[in-house]
Amino acid sequence: MNAHPDIKQRPEFEQEPSDASAIGDVERPLSFSERIIQNETAQRLAILAVLLIVWELYARWLNNALLFPTFSETVRVFLHDIGNGVLIDRTFTSLRTLALGYGLGLALAALFTTFAVASGVGTRILSTFTAMFNPLPAIALLPLALIWFGLGTPSLVFVIVHSVLWAVALNTLSGFRSVPETLRMSGRNIGLKGARYVGLILMPAAFPSILAGLKIGWAFAWRTLVAAELVFGVSSRSGGIGWYIFEARNDLDTATVFSGLLTVILIGLFVESVIFRALETRTVNLWGMQR
């Protein structure tokens, strides 16, 4: 080493680390404006605000309330119908049916996937079923549902279950399949079997996929419900949000149609960005399984 010819041109050296205090604190909190710019909610609100301004300006310029009511007019009708309870009543009718269908769909999906992970045959059965039924639009089953269950909630629940079940089952199953072998083995190592193994190891390990399935299932259910209510028209006593829209269209009351659509959108936004978001930050984000 010492005889190395380069040592004269490139001498070795040792030194103390240089003084880094000039840069200030090694860690400092971000300023308010820096945080606002990074905040996801703030960004979303800004996008929304731009969209609403464009809507208002375009509608005013068009000046045709029958085709395209202004944002302010839509909000007025929306608040008015909330005030007199019509919209709230319609929304609750829809949400009740939705909760029933969604819940039932999830329960069935859980049952199916538990069978599917228990055996190879179960997996084959479920994947064949999802391949057959997942592409089948729920609305296409509505005429059949009407024949079987008649007008009313049972028919709606049937089509909602159909739209939720396969999407959720498919996602859950693929989530279960992608659980790392090492994690499975460390679960079995401590003697976990059957339902406890599924519940304590597979479900949390596959939670990102399950959550994605829940989201897709929710969107499918909500879509199917509103569409089914539109086709249905009235179910004697109380119609849902789809019926609210349908009624307003018959009256050529476009602002009310818009207010119905606004309700659908607002509920969708709420569920996505409040409920599912909260679920995500408490689970998959906290666990570092999803960024």
């Binding site: 790392p180 090492t182 994690l183 083995m185 460390s186 079995r188 190592n189 401590i190 003697g191 976990l192 406890r196 304590l200 190891i201 949390p204 390990a205 939670f207 689970t283 906290l286 666990w287 570092g288 399984m289």
Partner: protein, 268 residues
């Protein structure tokens, strides 16, 4: 072995005539062929062999994840048929920890599931195990925020807290960088000095085998057959640059690779 009768502790794990085979989509692979060995209480027993000699498969079989085609594996005289918490495994991969549990919850989980200890005892043991692997500061942190070495420490703490009959380690330090690996080897030895647990340790590093182990089982290449069982209880970090250590290393090297050369010559 029999000569020093009073000093030899009882046999804990007995593997006799074990042949292991597994199926890939296209082949039936014989991983080990009629392997015999026995691990005594308090051994740091190393299974050493080139990659593909079936040493990990052998460990899985001891873990109960794979039934032998012939032969038997007994722990305390009882045939092994299924995985169980008396044989805790520490894997090479980091994803053996549950990402949805904190360090503390991960260490707690096996004890909770198996209900081996009372609740208070479980909590106390978890705290103690975390302290032993020097992770008290990271008690409530989720695994994704830990470095590879720390994850491995959690996995070891988790396994040790349950106080299994035998600790099965499948190349636990292979995925770590060289510096961390050395630290972990020293820490494992320090833990062993305190607790004198029995460990079955698979590795493909000759140096690691001599440093960590007290006995070394050398397996031949594919399919794995017993080549030698050596005693390395006197060799550790304190004498890793002595001629004795070098001689042992060379001896194992010849056992592993001398044979391969001989095979090649026979083939040509």
């Amino acid at each position: 072995m029999d000569a020093s009768a009073p000093a030899v502790p009882p046999v804990l794990l007995d593997v006799s005539g074990v042949t292991l085979q597994y199926k890939t989509p296209r082949h039936l692979v014989t991983a080990t062929y009629r392997v015999d060995f026995s691990v005594h209480q308090g051994d740091r027993y190393i299974i050493l062999g080139p990659s593909g000699c079936g040493k990990s498969t052998l460990l899985k079989a001891v873990g109960g994840f794979m039934p032998p085609v012939e032969g038997s594996i007994r722990i305390r005289g009882k045939e092994i048929t299924a995985p169980g918490p008396d044989r805790m495994m520490v894997f090479q991969e980091f994803e053996q920890l549950m990402p949805w549990k904190t360090v503390y919850q991960n260490v707690l989980f096996p004890m909770k599931v198996t209900r081996k200890f009372s609740r208070a005892e479980t909590a106390r043991r978890a705290e103690a195990a975390i302290e032993k692997v020097k992770l008290t500061k990271f008690r409530d942190v989720y695994p994704h925020m830990l470095s590879g070495g720390m994850k491995m420490r959690v996995a070891i703490a988790r396994a040790m807290a349950l106080e299994p009959d035998i600790l099965l380690m499948d190349e636990p330090f292979a995925a770590l960088d060289a510096l961390t690996r050395r630290t972990m080897q020293q820490e494992l030895l320090a833990l062993w000095d305190q607790l004198h647990f029995t460990v079955l340790f698979v590795t493909h590093s000759i140096q690691e085998a001599i440093l960590v182990g007290s006995r070394i089982l050398v397996l031949s290449p594919h399919p794995g057959r017993v080549r030698a069982e050596l005693d390395s209880s006197r060799l550790d970090f304190s004498n890793s640059d002595t001629p004795e250590f070098g001689a042992m290393s060379k001896r194992i090297h010849n056992l592993l690779f001398g044979e391969e050369h001989a095979h090649k010559e026979a083939a040509t």
